[in-house]
Structure formats: structure tokens, C-alpha cells
């Protein structure tokens, strides 16, 4: 039974010390941080260097995505080039945005992998890039490499990417699996 008489104790008790609670010094410290960034960017801009200017995506890409960035999915392949995916649909089950649609097919000829995805579609207009699909996958068949997704489009319908596209694109950041070699060779191809 829950003890209704006592107040719940929360993990985030107020932890501010006297210095923080005296308010003004902390406000000034915050202003100094933002002011410093403005000053630095302004100085770079005045000397014709690139400051914190927004990258003009998609024509322009940043080279320095955070190590944990989750980009457009990759479907990994087995050595024979067929998808690693067994169409178990756990990714589709885990996906909170419900954007993965898989059609399974039966292949009696492949004894070790009788079930495979005939179609595998992800709707990037609704994907929230949470990575739960990657965590759910028991086969390491789907990954989200660090690279930026190459996704902009004027049409929602075009933002569904299908099995062959996700199998075929070669991210720079993920060379752990032998992906089909990209146009430049050696798995080091462009992002599409």
C-alpha cells in the first residue's frame, strides 16, 4: 500500500547554494558566456572566417557530426549481399512513430534464412530518429550511422525510402560491415 500520509521525496531536490541563490552574479555569468560567443563569432566574421553560421543544408554538409548522431538508417548485408534482416518486425514493433513497414517473404531454398524482407520501407517524414529500431533489432540488421541523412524533398511521398536504397547507401562513418562498395570504391563512397 502506498503511504498517503507522507510526502513523496523527489530526486531533484533544490541544490542551489547561497552563491546561486543570490541571483545577480549567476545572471551576469550567463550573459558573459553568450556575450563571449557573440564576440568571437563577430570577430571571425569581420576577419572573413567562418563563424557559427548555419550550414546551408543540403547543399552544404558539416563534417563534424557528434559521435552519437543518428542519421539515415543502413540495412546491413550478409557476405552474399542479401539483407541481414530476418523480417522479425521487432523494429516496426518498437518504433514509436510507427513508420517502419515490412513485408515478409518465405524462401524455402535458403534454409538458414527462410524469412526475409521482400519490402522494407521507412517514412522519414515521420521518423523521429530515436534509434529504438536499432536497439530492438536482434540481428544487427539495421543501424543508424553518424552521417547526415540525405533526405530533403518537396513531396512527403518521396520521403519513404525502401529496402534497396537502405541496403545500398554507404555511410563514411560505419565501415564495420562490408557494405556494397560505393561509386568511389572501397566502401568509402558518397553518402548516397
Amino acid at each position: 500500500m502506498m503511504d498517503l500520509g507522507r510526502r513523496k521525496s523527489y530526486w531533484n531536490r533544490p541544490t542551489l547554494g547561497l552563491w546561486e541563490r543570490s541571483y545577480l552574479p549567476e545572471v551576469l555569468r550567463g550573459l558573459a558566456v553568450t556575450g563571449g560567443v557573440i564576440a568571437r563569432n563577430l570577430a571571425r566574421w569581420l576577419t572573413f572566417r567562418k563563424g557559427a553560421l548555419t550550414a546551408r543544408y543540403p547543399e552544404e554538409r558539416r563534417a563534424d557530426y557528434a559521435a552519437g548522431n543518428r542519421g539515415k538508417h543502413v540495412l546491413t548485408t550478409r557476405p552474399d549481399g542479401r539483407p541481414q534482416c530476418i523480417a522479425c518486425m521487432l523494429c516496426a514493433t518498437a518504433c514509436p512513430a510507427r513508420v517502419i513497414e515490412i513485408e515478409a517473404a518465405f524462401d524455402p531454398a535458403d534454409a538458414a534464412h527462410p524469412k526475409h524482407p521482400a519490402r522494407f520501407e521507412i517514412d522519414y517524414s515521420r521518423c523521429v530518429f530515436c534509434g529504438l529500431c536499432v536497439e530492438a533489432c536482434p540481428e544487427d540488421a539495421i543501424r543508424m550511422p553518424q552521417d547526415v541523412p540525405d533526405l530533403p524533398s518537396h513531396d512527403r511521398g518521396e520521403m519513404w525510402l525502401s529496402r534497396d536504397h537502405l541496403l545500398g547507401w554507404c555511410p563514411r562513418s560505419d565501415a564495420a560491415k562490408p557494405y556494397p562498395p560505393g561509386p568511389a570504391g572501397g566502401g568509402e563512397g558518397g553518402s548516397l
Binding site: 523480417a87 513497414e101 520501407e121
Partner: protein, 471 residues
């Protein structure tokens, strides 16, 4: 009555029952694989072990109750024995859950989480067996998944009595197989798929079609014959509708399973009931027509109304696939002005089993009894001078229409006679509406809508009100 102590609680149970039944009836769950309430006791899976104080462990499914016995279903010994039994049952199990159609409703999977949870302690390689062995036109068996509980074998010996299945070999090389030289051609064969506690028996028509947790089941009544078995129609859950893949799958029957109704069918149905998709998913008629000319539904209704009002001698052939509610709507709005005959919509097809002593009935219509209760038993015939025939449903030979009579036809499927009728009105099918059927024993059972009807399709009950109601 016999008095026993179940986990220290004193209960009164019937003298001829078993400890397993007594426990289940009294709200104490004891796990079981091979036991089934409608099959004989085999006692081979040993998961139902309980402890009798002073006597030690034994299986509950084959243990008669005796006066004053003290049963423990959850003692340390019982838990350890169950865990050991689960280790043993999964010793050679492939743990294919990711690609197993049973996953999500698999007893082995559920019990593993409930009673074992530990990885295998065996270091031996697993014994391999045949996968996707062809048992018949409808069923494959994956022998690696089979736990040799013999439920399927007992079903074919005790319920369907085809004696088609047996077990060959022994120990870890046991294989469930068809009798030599025979295919699994039992008309009730698909029940073993539900009966199998694991995913060993696989339906060809459902193989890899969907994960079961993407589906929902709508309670319904099988219209395949006058038995009217209680069924579940499984289709994609509303929150799992497909947007990119074929959207027709959103309105498809994924599979049909029995719904246990002791008064009608028990936990079984015949294979025709499994194939309702073949009946309901024929090409649908969704366009109202006047002599083959497409018109809006409202125009077709007013034309039907004009023809009915203008005719002198009218005959109606009502559908034995109409629900009780639709038949009542016909009686309320139109029957008084018609000579009403009940028409059999479906007759036995070549090769179909006409009748047996298990479930299948000769009348291949679900609601003949309900229709006859309202409109009598006279066969289809026309009084001289008939100048309007209203046909509701299928199964009528249009060459019998009296010369010069107008035809108003209410149908659901594409057929050549739709275009020949003076008025054709498209109506919904069973999976698109709620209702009830009265089976041949007079038992009425409800069915519920699985899918919304198309926009140009009307419910027959609404059409009767529109054609016959006061203007």
C-alpha cells in the same frame, strides 16, 4: 464431492476430477503443454508437476483427487522441477522466435519467461530435424520446434477421427508425420495449428503474413454452413494500418480461428471456416446500376422504389445469408407487399463435404432457420402474373424469372446478372456490419463488423427502409 487442500486452502471438488482441473477451476494456474480440456490425458510433457505433501512430485493432469490430499502448486521443489523441465523441453529447441509465426501466442515462449528465464545449460550441439516438412496442402511442420506433446496426434484420433498423424522414432529423433503414403487431408486439419503449444505446425496461408501482435480479432460467426461456428476474424489492428505497402491488406482477413463456444462448436472449426477470405474477398460490386448503366446510389434507390410501387404482383427472394436484423427490417418495411420466399444462397460445391457427424451441416447458409422463422418454408417459385422480382443475395438462376417481370437485385459481388437487372444495388457483406445468425439448432449468435464498408455500398437493412418506408 471431495475435499482437498490447494496451497493450504480447503476446497470442495468433484470426486472424479483431476488435480489440474481442480486447480484451474479454482483460480490456481498450473502450467500444461500436452493436456487439453477436450483431449485425452497423455501425461508426457511433465510441466504440470505439483507436490503432494508426504508423497512428493507428480504430474497434476493425470492425478485423481483424493479426500484430504494436500497439494502445493508453487513450492520450491515444484518451481525447481518446472525449471528443469523447461530446460529439458528447450534442449533442442531452435529458439526461432524471431521468424516463428507462433511468437506472441506461444506457450513455450510464455512459460520460458514465467518459469525458467535462464539460458540453456547444455553445451551439446542441438539436434537438427526437418524444417518446413510438407504434411499436406495446408500445413507444414517444423520438427525442430515440436516438443512432441502429441496434441495434434490425439486430435486426429479423438476429434476428427481421420487418424492421419502419428509419431515416428523415439527420444530426440521423434517426428510427427502423416500416416505413410498419405497427405494430411483431414477436413479439420487446421485445428492442430491452434492446438500446437509451439510453432511447429504452420499454416501455409498464414506463413509469414503478419506478426500476431499486429492483428486484432473480431468475434464473428462462420457463414460456411448452418452450424454457425463461433470464430475470430483476425485483421490488422487499426493502429497498424499500412500506408506504404499494399493498402488492401488493411481490409483483408489475415486468418480465422475458432472461438470456444461449448453450445455450438466447442474449440474447433472446419477448414472451410479458415478460408472465409475466399468467400468474402471475391471481386466486389460497388456501383449501383440501372440495366448496367452506372448511377448514383440515391437514383437507383428511387428507381427501385418506383418499380416496387408500380408493380401489381411482387415476389421477393430473401437471402439466407441475411442477418436476423436485416431479415426483420425486410419484414417491417417490405414483406407485406411481397410474396416472400427464402432462397438458399449457397449449395454444396463439387468436392465439398456435404455433412458429417462432427460439425459440418448440409445447409451451406448461416441463417436459413432465422429466415424461415419469419417467412416460412415455401420453395422458390413464382405465382402466375408476377411482374416484379426482388432478389437479395446470390444463388438464383435468372432464367427462372417470369417473362416480362422487372428485377431489383441486391448483391455484393461482381456477376454478369448485375448488369442485366433493372436495378442493381450494392450491399455490404458480413465482415462490414454487425448482426446475428440463427443456426440450425436455433441458437442465435452475434457477429461484429471488422471493416468499414465502401462509400458507395449500402447496408441491406437501410435499403429496405428506403425502398419500402413511408415517403
Amino acid at each position: 464431492m471431495t475435499r482437498i487442500f490447494l496451497n493450504g486452502r480447503e476446497i470442495e471438488v468433484a470426486a472424479d476430477t483431476t488435480v489440474l482441473r481442480a486447480a484451474l477451476d479454482n483460480g490456481v494456474y498450473v502450467p500444461y503443454f500436452c493436456w487439453h480440456p477436450r483431449l485425452s490425458v497423455a501425461g508426457n510433457c511433465r510441466i504440470c508437476m505439483v507436490e503432494v505433501e508426504g508423497k512428493g512430485l507428480d504430474i497434476a493432469c493425470n492425478m485423481p483427487v483424493s479426500e484430504g490430499m494436500k497439494v502445493l502448486t508453487d513450492s520450491d521443489e515444484v518451481r525447481a522441477a518446472r525449471k528443469a523441465m523447461m530446460q529439458f523441453l528447450t534442449l533442442n529447441h531452435p529458439v526461432d522466435c524471431g521468424i516463428c509465426d507462433k511468437a506472441g501466442e506461444c506457450t513455450l515462449q510464455d512459460y520460458h519467461f514465467a518459469y525458467n528465464g535462464a539460458p540453456s545449460i547444455s553445451a551439446e550441439p542441438k539436434v537438427r530435424a526437418t524444417k518446413f516438412h510438407d504434411l499436406g496442402d495446408r500445413i507444414l511442420i517444423d520438427n525442430e520446434r515440436c516438443i512432441v506433446c502429441s496434441r495434434c496426434v490425439r486430435f486426429t484420433h479423438e476429434v476428427s477421427r481421420s487418424k492421419a498423424l502419428g509419431i515416428q522414432g523415439r527420444g530426440d529423433t521423434s517426428l510427427v508425420r502423416c500416416e505413410e503414403g498419405r497427405r494430411f487431408d483431414d477436413p479439420y486439419s487446421d485445428n492442430v495449428i491452434d492446438l500446437c503449444p509451439v510453432g511447429a505446425l504452420l499454416s501455409r496461408s498464414f506463413l509469414y503474413k503478419a506478426r500476431v501482435w499486429f492483428l486484432e480479432a473480431t468475434p464473428s460467426v462462420c457463414p460456411g454452413c448452418a452450424r454457425g461456428c463461433a470464430i475470430r476474424i483476425w485483421h490488422l489492428r487499426a493502429d497498424r494500418r499500412l500506408q506504404r505497402l499494399d493498402p488492401r491488406r488493411n481490409l483483408e482477413i489475415a486468418r480465422v480461428t475458432p472461438l470456444d463456444d461449448p453450445a455450438v462448436n466447442g474449440p474447433w472449426i472446419c477448414n472451410k471456416g479458415r478460408d472465409l477470405a475466399a468467400i468474402f474477398e471475391r471481386p466486389r460490386a460497388d456501383q449501383a446500376m440501372l440495366r448496367g448503366r452506372p448511377v448514383p446510389l440515391a437514383e437507383a434507390i428511387s428507381e427501385a422504389r418506383r418499380l416496387v410501387d408500380g408493380a401489381k404482383r411482387r415476389t421477393a427472394l430473401v437471402s439466407s445469408w441475411g442477418s436476423d436484423g436485416e431479415l426483420a427490417a425486410f419484414r417491417d418495411h417490405l414483406a407485406a407487399r411481397f410474396d416472400v420466399r427464402v432462397k438458399p444462397d449457397h449449395v454444396p460445391q463439387p468436392g465439398e463435404i456435404v455433412e458429417d457427424d462432427i460439425l459440418i451441416r448440409a445447409d451451406k447458409n448461416p441463417n436459413t432457420r432465422g429466415a424461415r422463422a419469419l417467412f416460412g418454408e415455401r420453395p422458390v417459385a413464382f405465382e402466375p402474373g408476377t411482374d416484379l422480382v426482388l432478389v437479395w443475395g446470390e444463388g438464383f438462376d435468372y432464367s427462372r424469372v417470369p417473362a416480362g417481370a422487372k428485377v431489383v437485385l441486391l448483391g455484393s459481388y461482381l456477376a454478369p446478372e448485375n448488369g442485366a437487372a433493372d436495378v442493381f444495388l450494392p450491399i455490404s457483406v458480413q465482415t462490414e456490419r454487425d448482426g446475428s445468425y440463427t443456426n440450425s439448432d436455433g441458437i442465435a449468435r452475434r457477429f461484429e463488423a471488422c471493416f468499414p464498408p465502401g462509400e458507395t455500398i449500402a447496408h441491406a437493412a437501410d435499403l429496405f427502409a428506403a425502398i419500402g418506408g413511408r415517403p
